[in-house]
Amino acid sequence: MSRHGLLEGEYFMNGDVASAEGAICAGCRFFAGYPITPATEVAERMAERLPEVGGTFIQMEDEIASMAAILGGSWGGAKSMTSTSGPGFSLMMENLGLGAMTETPCVVVNVQRAGPSTGLPTLTAQGDMMQARWGSHGLYGIIALAPSSPQEMFELTIKAFNLSEKYRTPVLIMTDESVGHMSEKVVIPPSNQIEVFDRRKPTVPVSEYLPFKPDADLVPPMGNAGEGYRYHVTGLTHDERGYPDMTAEAQEKLVRRLIDKIELNKDDIIELEEDEIDGADVVVCSYGISARVALLAVKAAREEGIKVGMLRLITAWPFPNNRIKELAGKIKAFVVPELNAGQMALEVERCAGGAAETVLVGHMGGNVHDPQVILKAIRKASK
């Protein structure tokens, strides 16, 4: 056996594997995880591949430990990742909050399956979208991306690492079993053509470094453990030195910034795919596998002469409030097909603010929508 290093070229692989390869291209060198259907293949691929690129894979005793370990890994200087599905994602919530609070770059892949609870372990759903935003206690901002294909699993995993390093925050990949388990061609460019962002290192002398003092973009540069900073990092509310500061003022300053560093950099973070939006009466807003299914309905509707645009959420969180508001003023209705009982649809409805109707096309999961159902909703909404 020989170490293969970075891949390059065209591969036929599934979304989970593509995500692992994306991570490796993005520079991920530490993975801690725990098996769970339908995300296991991410871990298995990392177990095989990380030794080939000089990284470390460890299977932890559970998802709590996995999430804690990647935070430690990140502070140790390695780009770090874990992957899971609903039940494990629920278990990661506490330490995801620690990641947000300590501004620790890392990537968590959630390949969604149907829940609640153990639900349908092998079958698709998109039921964890709100959990991605609100699943940990307290206040924080989060970035979540929603790939629709293996190629995007590859690309958005790279993007996730870049965003996590740039904004010093955990970034979530919220995909679904359909995308995770589907195999398609994945094109991996030569590594020198892949844009990779590394955490901004401190520029001040070691003794002057304050690990939580932000630059103008609200993000503090980050030194790694072992580099001589001797800093303190805590999940308690803290000041710029990282020292606990048990006051409402410190809370206001710190937590407001944690939220703002994502809110105020929305334009840089949010990525949407828009198709025939101009002049549309109805805009279908969807993501992940549902967006691909919806496209069939959109095309059929267009053939019927309905003016329907497609807005695909590549970034799910932060939510594109402004774009939705803007569109609401111009169209009759949003149609939101998703594999849940209404999650992103609530956000669309909120942002539409009554200016356009919001039609949820919900589905409890287990399989994808019948495109006809979406088509009917489009027809109705266009009237």
Binding site: E10, F12, T122, S149, S178, H181, S183, E184, K185, R292
Partner: protein, 186 residues
């Protein structure tokens, strides 16, 4: 825009998934088209029914699922009943003749291959899926022969190339024969 949908089915453990991946790889990597491979399985780790679906298109396919297959392969009775027996005339049906007894109504038009038997003759019943792929390549235009051959070699464990090439060829030959025979019968 051309779109071809294919379903391979059987029970878990027969290598259906690998077969599907080979077809997908052949189409997308070696034929330069786009292919989407998906699978369906029961809760069993092994022994349940199992199906691999492929959508092969020129442009990337949005909708990745099979609704109107042009070819259905069934390697178990259960799979045949579930996936093949209801299919209309326009759908090409292929079965392992030793494992599936087709409905009377389809008896005549169905393509039969003793894939498992051929594999056993080659010394490893595990390569029945490759025999089937050879057959499929011969009787349909799912992918080019070259692409499929490359995909097989690219997907099987090192050291088993010869065995698998043989399996592919035996299946392919069998396919060509059966096609010819069918043509002659008409």
């Amino acid at each position: 825009m051309s779109r071809k949908e294919i379903r391979l089915s059987g029970f878990g453990g027969q290598g259906i998934v690998l077969a599907g991946l080979i077809v997908g790889k052949a189409a997308s990597i070696f034929d330069g088209k786009n292919a989407t491979f998906t699978q369906a399985y029961g809760p069993e780790a092994r022994g349940g029914s199992c199906s691999a679906q492929l959508v092969i298109t020129d442009e990337p396919a949005a909708y990745p699922y099979v609704t109107n297959p042009v070819v259905v392969v069934a390697m178990s009775q259960e799979a045949y009943t579930k996936y093949a027996s209801q299919m209309g005339e326009e759908v090409q049906l292929i079965i392992d003749e030793d494992l599936v007894v087709p409905d009377k109504s389809q008896e005549n038009r169905i393509l039969k291959v003793p894939a498992t038997r051929i594999a056993q003759e080659l010394g490893r019943s595990a390569v029945a899926n490759i025999v089937m792929i050879g057959f499929l390549t011969a009787v349909s235009d799912v992918t080019s022969v070259e692409a499929m051959k490359k995909a097989v070699l690219d997907s099987v464990p090192k050291g088993t190339e010869e065995l698998n090439t043989n399996a592919f060829n035996r299946g392919y030959e069998c396919g060509k024969e059966r096609i010819k025979a069918a043509g002659e019968n008409q």
